[in-house]
Amino acid sequence: MKFSTLLRKPAEWMEHAGPHGDIVITSRVRFARNVVGFPFPGWAEKSDRSSTLEMIRPVVEGLPEMKDAFSEELSNLNAMRKQVLVERHLISREHAARSTGSAAVMNRRQTLSMMINEEDHLRMQSLQPGLNLKAAYKALDKIDTSLESDLEFAFDRKLGYLTACPTNLGTGMRASVMLHLPALVLSDQIGQVIQAANKIGLAVRGLYGEGTEALANLFQISNQHTLGMAEDALVTRLHKVVEQIIENEKNARLKLMEDKLSMLRDQIGRAYAILRFAHVIPSKEALNLLSMLRLGMDLGFFPYEYRSEIDVLLMEIQPAHLQIAAKSKLDAQERDVLRAEIMRRKLKSLPEPDSVNPGDEDSAPETEDDAQP
């Protein structure tokens, strides 16, 4: 598959919401694996990296799941294309920084991606829309098992899968869920949620933005520990915690509708107005306003069918996606102009928030009737 084909098609998770799709964007599971007899990529000579690449790449490409895959050495991808893959969560930032001796392989639906010679020889990832960790885990486990017959993975009875960084020892598994939590942020409860999650060994961080800043109210929650617990136990625990956070977010939304309806209407109305009519819009502002539109949609201020449009926009307004769409390199100001243009075009037919009554049965599947004041 060519890069342009990959790009033209939005990832499956952007178009189809999964279980709890109003709050959970994606579920992701990643395994780290290394083959015996070779140094880890960070310590390896070029020749060693080439050897592991030549050993792993054909095996990965030969998986039935990778039929018609996009597969490329990183040295053959320019910075912009690498950045697009990062923005789509198909490769990591660290992987994008690599070139000779590293490769990326991903399926057409963009639910499966393999990084060869990232920090470990093989990092494989399975991505599902909505809260669907178990499906993501099962898919990856099956692939891992079938790879075992061709690749001898470094494993130790006591330490489990051996990885470059000891933080990944054991299962080598990182399970993570991307959550949209605007109401917990608006009602200042997000700090408590993060603290509670940290206490039981889960890491929470903003998806975009530096440090504690979480743009678009998007958060990623994942297991910190990989050693001492089995894969399914880790997955089950994360799933349970996420269910609890979903409950908290839903309650916070109901509470906002009850107590702070004017503030909520104002935020959503402003987001609508700016995104519909602005001509220059920086990425940070756009992400945060899109988050408000998404919340408005969940609460029934907008017709529900626009939801996938918003999720696709969240992706398409990012720097590399913009520049690939424009077919030229743009500076920050040009990007802000183009971003505003795309917003105006895509949201042109979106009706005003006030024209639909929040709580209408057709348009607000998530909102309870008694939430109306």
Binding site: F40, E148, K158, P166, G170, T171, H225, A230
Partner: protein, 170 residues
């Protein structure tokens, strides 16, 4: 504030603090227990601080690594100080070489120190014993070097036992 001083030779906590006046100059040195005994600090006659100080930083004069902290992975040449710098290991075999110093780190990092999850279907007794064997053989070399023949004999017997078990399995 943490005022702990580190050993001037390795990076362990210093427990031996030495001040010596040579001519009209005062020199100070901080050492950990193992380095101090290697340098003969406990024997005042055989120890000159100036020699020690001039030796610091020039690798030739440093004692060859013997303690696990200074060991080198025979497979990939990775050292403990490389790990301190990067937080990552060099190759899968490093975990055998540096295992002794790893347990404390792992218990702060993880829920436990033993793997409880998936085991690759290809993982067999032979693979496992290979890793155990190479570990035992290393210990045997060390024991022989140190002329600890009692320990060496014990290790030799253990190695024979495992080799026999593998032969019988195949």
């Amino acid at each position: 504030m943490n005022t702990d001083l580190n050993c001037d030779l390795c990076e362990k906590k210093a427990t031996v603090f030495l001040t010596q006046i040579v001519g009209n100059k005062m020199q100070k040195v901080n050492l950990c227990e193992s380095c101090s005994s290697q340098q003969g600090v406990t024997d005042p006659a055989g120890f000159a601080l100036a020699d020690l100080l001039t030796g610091i930083g020039s690798e030739k004069q440093l004692p060859r690594p013997s303690a696990p902290e200074d060991s080198v992975c025979p497979e990939c040449g990775f050292t403990q100080s490389d790990f301190k710098k990067t937080g990552r290991f060099g190759c899968p075999s490093c975990y055998r070489v540096f295992r002794d110093s790893l347990d404390t780190l792992l218990s702060t990092m993880h829920r436990g120190t033993s793997h409880a999850g998936k085991v690759p279907s290809t993982f067999s007794l032979r693979d496992e014993s290979e890793s155990v064997l190479s570990e035992l053989k290393q210990s045997l070399d060390v024991a022989v070097d140190k002329e600890n023949y009692e320990e060496a004999a014990r290790l030799r017997d253990e190695i024979r036992k495992i080799e026999e078990a593998v032969r019988q399995e195949s």
